[in-house]
Structure formats: C-alpha cells, structure tokens
Amino acid sequence: MIKSLKTLSHDLSDPAYQLDVLNNYSESLRQQPKFKEKLEEVDLYPLRPTGIEIFQINVGYMCNMTCKHCHVDAGPDRDEVMTKETLEHCLEALRNSDISTVDLTGGAPEMNPHFRWFVEQVSDLGKEIIVRSNLTILTTAPKYQELPEFFAEHDVEVTCSLPFYNKSRTDRQRGEGTYDRSIEALKKLNEIGYGIEGSGLELNLVYNPTGAFLPGSQESLEKEFKRQLDRKHGIRFNNLFTITNLPISRYLNFLLESDNLDEYMDRLITSFNPSAAKGVMCRNTISVGWDGTLYDCDFNQMLEMPVEEEAPQHISEWNEAKLNGREIKINQHCFGCTAGAGSSCGGTTT
C-alpha cells in the first residue's frame, strides 16, 4: 500500500515547508512575482468574498485510494474524520443561512461513518448537495455499492474524478485498476439515471492533468471525453470540469521529484488571468475542515491556513456576516486557480 506523506513523515507533509518551497526553493522561484503583487496590479488586493454560496465540508482525509496528485494527502492511513458533533455544528450553520449548496469532499466523503445521516439532514434543509466521489469507493463494500440509489433518492449531484478517458493515464495517477472500477461505477450510475438527459440526476466528471501541464479547453475536453467514453463504454455524463493541479502536497512532491517545479510555476504565473482572479472560488466558498476549522478553500485547509483571525475560526462560532467581510489568505499556490481559464471545484471560472 502506498503511504501518505504524513505517515512517511515526509518533509512535504509540513505545510510551512511547502510554502517555503513555493517561494524559495530555487533562484527562479525567488524571482517570480508574488500572488499578492499580481492581485494588486488588477485591483483585487486584498481579496474579499463576494458572498458565500458554497459550503464545502471536508468530512475527513480517509480514502480508499492514494492518488499521486492528491492535494489532501488522503489515503487509507489517514484517520482524521469529522465527528457527528462537528457535523451538527455544520447543520446549525446551514439552518441559519441562505447558502444554497453543500459540497461534500474528503478523502472519500462516503467513508465518514455519519455520511448517510448527514446527507439526509442536509437534504431535509432543502439545500443542493454535491458529493465529490472518487468512483472506486462505489465498487467496494456492499454499503458503498448501495450509494448510487441513495444519492438518487436525495437528488445528490455526483461529481467524480476521472483524470483521463483511458486506462493507462488514469491508473498511473490513481493506482492500478482504478479505470476499470471507475467505469463500472459510472455504468451503475448511468443505469439508475445519473447523467441521462431528462432524469434530473446530475453526473459530472472532474478532469485534472496527469502530469506537469495545464488543462486545455474545458469545452473541447468535455467533447472528447463524451466521444471516447460513449464509444468505448456507452457512458454518459453531464459536464466535465477541468481542474488545474495546485502545486501542494503530493503533486508538489511529483513536481520536485520530476524536476518540473520551476517550469510549472512559471507556466502558472505567466498564465495569470485577471478574469480568473476575479472569479476565484474562495470568494463564494467557505471550507470547513474535518475538525470544524474554517478555511478560505480546501487548498488553504491543506496548508493549514485558516481564515483570518478577525473572522470566526470554527464552525461552532459561525457568523456569516463576519466571514463575508474577511480578507482571504493567499500565497503562491493560488496561481493554480488563476491560470488560463481559471480553476475551481466547478471547473473553469471565466
């Protein structure tokens, strides 16, 4: 079994070290403009929320997979899992808010022991629910195999990872056997109506580059994925979201080991797009960590950069007005969300 950086006590499991690498690892990186300077150039500094629309909860870092690019450093050896008490705090915050969308992520969010209960509760609040599924989990134990029907029952939007339309590239990033199991899960989701026109059950795929390069046009990649997956497996889906790999955690490790870091950062920085910066997801999202700590986004969560001190730090202290007035924390990794057409959990931002 591949171990997480944390279990290996790897240097890169330390967020402070990761940020130091991004800023100072080489002469080239030291000379790069800072994200703050680029925001100043386009009058976006300090970066502030436009209003929270998406409540993203990371319900735990435990996962059945150990993908090479994972920014969470998730895996079977991670035991950080959100407790029922913290989930209750989330529900309390949602009850007192107009936030429309609850986005569940992990790890494999399905592995949180309170997952079904929580989805039911959020569903009762009338919120839209997105589950970020790695697909393979849906082919493991019977309790997970039953999830597609459960998702359909609660009108959950299933947004799942599939980095490429073929086996070799998918398995190289996500582990041997991933592609075949993902296809099996997608077929099951299609069978009950997910991704099928008129069913109202939304099935989206997330594409992320399987190496040190940026995603191409989302529209064009969606077309190609639809063509290839339909031709090879008869699989349908609604949208493809392209996500740029952010240079943190295991992906940062890959960039360092393959000697691609300088070049990759240069690509991200020279591709800085002011429109993408304007539409970054941290402006309309709040990210709740497994222990209830509040972050500007899931990436800041992994870098242990909680929301600024003036804002509530924990979900139990929820105060939407204060959070909407906060200054969003930034660093060099943020260039990942502002390159080209932009990148967010919902794909491009321009």
């Binding site: 339309y165 190496g211 940026l214 191409g216 046009s217 064009s220 990649l221």
Partner: protein, 111 residues
C-alpha cells in the same frame, strides 16, 4: 556566445524575434494564433498535426511545445505516437517513392 545550437530556454524567447523586425513578427504571430484556433479541425487535431510536422522538420522546440500542447488538449499517448508514425511514413514514403524514378532511369539506361 552559446556553446550549443539548441537551448530549451530559447523556446520562451520565440516572441522576442520581433525585436529585429516587429511588423513581420506581429503579422506572423497573428496568423499563427489564428491557425491554431478551433475551426473545422479541433484544436486537439491541429496540435497533433503540428506534433507530426515537428518531427518531420525535426525541430526540438516544436517537439517540446507540441508534446505539451497535445497533452493539454487531451490527446492520448497512443494518438501522439500514431501522429509521429504518420510523419515517419510520409517521410520514409517520400524517399521510397523516388525509387520509381531510380527504376525509370535504370530502365532508360539499361539494355
């Protein structure tokens, strides 16, 4: 003075060729950009054609650039290698087809 003919870092300086002649460079890059836009051929198909041609003209800058471009546009390794074989087949074929000329000449000269 450089001690080699090709330096990967020079690829990034491509647009600097305008320094010695901005007008023609501008015209060229406008044209270049338009050529690679999505059209009757997709941007991915164009990247694959460019990758094949890069191998025909054996331009290391172009090979680096269009390998990355093909990957970004969502081409698979199989598609990229097939494109290179197309270049190779045409290149080999263009030599071999001249064998007909050789045969014609031989026949002209022979008893």
């Amino acid at each position: 003075m450089s001690d080699s003919y090709y330096n990967p870092k020079d690829l990034k300086k491509f647009e600097d060729v305008g320094e010695f002649g901005p007008e023609l460079a501008e015209k060229f890059f406008d044209y270049y950009g338009a050529v690679f836009e999505e059209g009757a051929l997709s941007a991915r198909e164009k990247a694959l054609i460019a990758l094949a041609v890069s191998h025909t003209v054996q331009c290391p800058y172009c090979i680096d650039a269009y390998t990355t471009e093909s990957l970004e546009k969502g081409a698979s390794e199989e598609q990229m290698m097939e494109a290179v074989h197309v270049a190779s087949a045409i290149r080999g074929g263009s030599s071999l087809v001249h064998g007909v000329q050789m045969m014609n000449k031989t026949k002209d000269l022979s008893m």
